[in-house]
Amino acid sequence: MKRLIAAVAVGCAMTVTPAAHAQTPPNVLVVGQIAEPQSLDPHVATATNDFRILMNIYEGLVRFGNGTLEVEPALAESWEISQDGLSYTFQLRQGVSFHDGTPFNAEAVKFNFERMLDEAHPFHGTGPFPLSFNFSAVEDVTAVDDMTVEFTLSEPFAPFLSNLAYPTGLIVSPAAVEQFGEDYGRNPSGTGPFRFAEWQANQRVVIAASPDYWDGPPTLEAVVFRPITDANTRMAEMLAGGLDIMVEAPPDSMAQFRDAPDFNAHEQAGPHVWYLILNMKEGPFESQAVRQAVNFAVNKEALVNDVLQGTAEISAGPVPPAFAWAYNEEVDPYPYDPDRARELLEEGGYEGEEIVFYVTEGGSGMLDPVAMGTAIQADLAAVGMNVRIETYEWNTFLGQVNPGLEGKAQMAQMAWMTNDPDTLPFLTLRTAAWPQEGGFNSGYYSNPDVDEMLDRARRATDPEERAALYRDVQAIVHDEAPWLFVANWVQGAVTTANIEGFTLQPSFFLMLKNVVKN
């Protein structure tokens, strides 16, 4: 039967095949994505998968500089921050238009933020806006004149600028929102180098070069984003020549592409932290020695090299190295030292109590959680720890972990991707972020010094002062070990050899303006 199938298949191929399949069209870039986008409204979208498209259609007032996580001017040419850190005044770029032809100005900026934040705004119903809390400190947006806009904050909030560079801060065309209402997410209009062209459900999103982009049009004629959820199929498309770029290449495949002459493998560490939350409220992890012991006991090098096949780097603390400006180079990761771990276990009085370890089957930024969980369990068993794994589907898992581990488990996997060094420690390490207070400190870490430093860093308007505080937090938290620090994700992408000018960004966004296809 199969031979029959094959024979008929060959027959069909002869008759139907257009001459040169397996070639992507010239000057059109085809990107293999991991899923269908949720929305092309940047204030509605929440997934990195969507951000990769959005960052090419839209721009924010500021953006992350190429290859960094430091902000630089975009739609705003310059800005001033008041002494008390409560007022940000932006001078907007002249002569910029949205793709629908309407002008970009201070009123447009005001419209964008009020739509998201003001429940009484006539277009607030075009949401929901799940990430609008990024701007919850914004009290008022005023159009001072046509090209000047002033934000007033209710309290000093230093991450404000990097939040503006995040997709939630991208500027949409008010006229397009008014025209399309809640279907705006399928009819987007921004100011970016590419304009929206077409969205075929679960087949493709096409964006075309915007000829009158203020910074000169891109060389590519168009970009096609294809959602291919199955990793094997995505690989097959790449190998068969149906894609020019594949993002989030599976770890197994990166090794193969690194050595292939027809392809280029790209790797870039991101602002991502993969760790285990340790329950400090009860059980063995009340003891700092035991917490340090597990950090010594796990062979992180084997995890990142063997399990993750080089798609991650070993992490040292809650601030990932991608935030180069705030990273503490002097804090080294815990080395793999089982003997030291055994000593510390004894010192901490651990006597073989069962440790329940929550593992997820997979989820946003979780890498390869089941294999990693098993490897960690084995390493801990080797130093005499009795770890029992409980595995949950991602949404169920979050429902178990977010309310806190008390009475349920001693360890749980977790991963975060953020755009500012403030976000992760602020939401997961402060005393005021314990689950009952509405935060994600599911392991109940509490250190008044760290609390105070994080508050101060949030209020500091001087970047140097902020950086110093994050470096100190990194050192203290590393030492007190409320987590088992494991890895920082290195994202992998593969391009065909004829793609030039492509670089991965630490933000994990995809910036395609300068890409050339030969």
């Binding site: 997410g185 096409v206 068969a240």
Partner: protein
């Protein structure tokens, strides 16, 4: 006949209603909720509550269901949380893609299965029968997602005869040859199991019919062997094969879930998989409703076809 069809169609309504209640309950009973799925890391109780209110999920369950039902009666299936568009648009777009794939697979398995079954029966225990039986067994026992991956590897990656995934060319394209060209691999994969089942049944049915008196009579009258097999015997055997093809239609629709994921076919199966993992209740409701309704209709069509072929059933 018309009253029969009308009665059957009316019986569909309570089935679908009951189904929608079950799906609704299951979606709300499984842990996790749409707001947590959308917010991911940022699912603080405060953010979840705010988003639930925006999505209308803060109302009591019976009220949510009744709102959904009320809207349904007006032809409104609600808006998908995860895709931010009307459920009806998404479901119809995706379901038509599934119909193309399932239709092609069904046609393929019916034609191939019937031919293989007849050839097998006519050459009972001959070499053709043995070879066909072997391939039929392989077809039935190979998991379809595995077969799909192997076909992709062989015909798309190595030979580059067919595209590995998708429904139309990436850029341009969109005409019928383009569609057929993308349809070959997924349709064959989806048809494999059903082809085997139909071939087995056709063989048995044909063997039974070929031993009956009217066949002997036909042969005795001097009717050509070709006509005996293709007309007399086949028509009689078809009566027992048709309902099986109807049932296979259901399996093909169900199997489309895997195949669509493997081949990135933009159909309703792949949509449901995503909708369930994002807890997109309304999209799951809409999708299941359409799939279930079509399953019932397929079976009805098979019953009608059977009674048209078999005069004994027409009363």
């Amino acid at each position: 006949m018309a009253t029969y069809v009308a009665k059957r169609l009316l019986a569909v309504i309570p089935v679908l209603l009951g189904l929608s209640i079950i799906v609704f309950l299951m979606m709300t009973l499984i842990p996790g909720d749409p707001a947590t799925a959308i917010l991911g890391n940022y699912a603080t109780p405060e953010n979840v509550a705010r988003l639930n209110a925006q999505l209308g999920l803060d109302k009591p369950l019976p009220q949510q269901y009744l709102i959904w039902l009320g809207n349904l009666l007006q032809g409104d299936l609600g808006r998908s949380f995860a895709l931010n568009r009307p459920v009806l648009d998404e479901v119809m777009e995706r379901f038509s893609a599934t119909l193309v794939l399932a239709g092609a697979a069904l046609l393929l398995c019916a034609v191939l299965g019937l031919i293989a079954g007849i050839v097998s029966a006519v050459n009972q225990f001959g070499w053709a029968d043995r070879i066909i039986t072997l391939f039929v067994l392989i077809g039935i026992s190979t998991p379809s997602f595995f077969l799909g991956l192997m076909l992709i590897l062989g015909f798309a990656v190595n030979l580059r005869w067919f595209p590995p995934s998708g429904m139309y060319a990436i850029y341009g394209g969109g005409d019928l040859p383009d569609l057929l060209y993308h349809l070959v691999l997924p349709a064959f994969t989806l048809a494999a199991v059903a082809t085997g089942v139909i071939a087995r049944l056709t063989r048995t049915a044909m063997l039974e019919v070929l031993r009956q008196d009217f066949i002997r009579t036909a042969r005795a009258k001097g009717v050509s062997e070709r006509r005996v097999i293709c007309v007399h015997a086949f028509k009689a055997a078809l009566v027992s094969v048709i309902p099986v093809i109807g049932i296979q239609a259901g399996f093909v629709l169900g199997g489309a879930v895997y195949i669509e994921t493997v081949f990135q076919w933009p159909g309703i199966g792949a949509m449901l998989v995503n909708a369930i993992s994002t807890r997109d209740i309304l999209l799951v409701q809409g999708g299941v409703l359409v799939v279930a309704a079509s399953y019932v209709l397929f079976n009805l069509a098979a019953d009608v076809a059977q009674s048209l072929l078999d005069p004994r059933l027409r009363r």
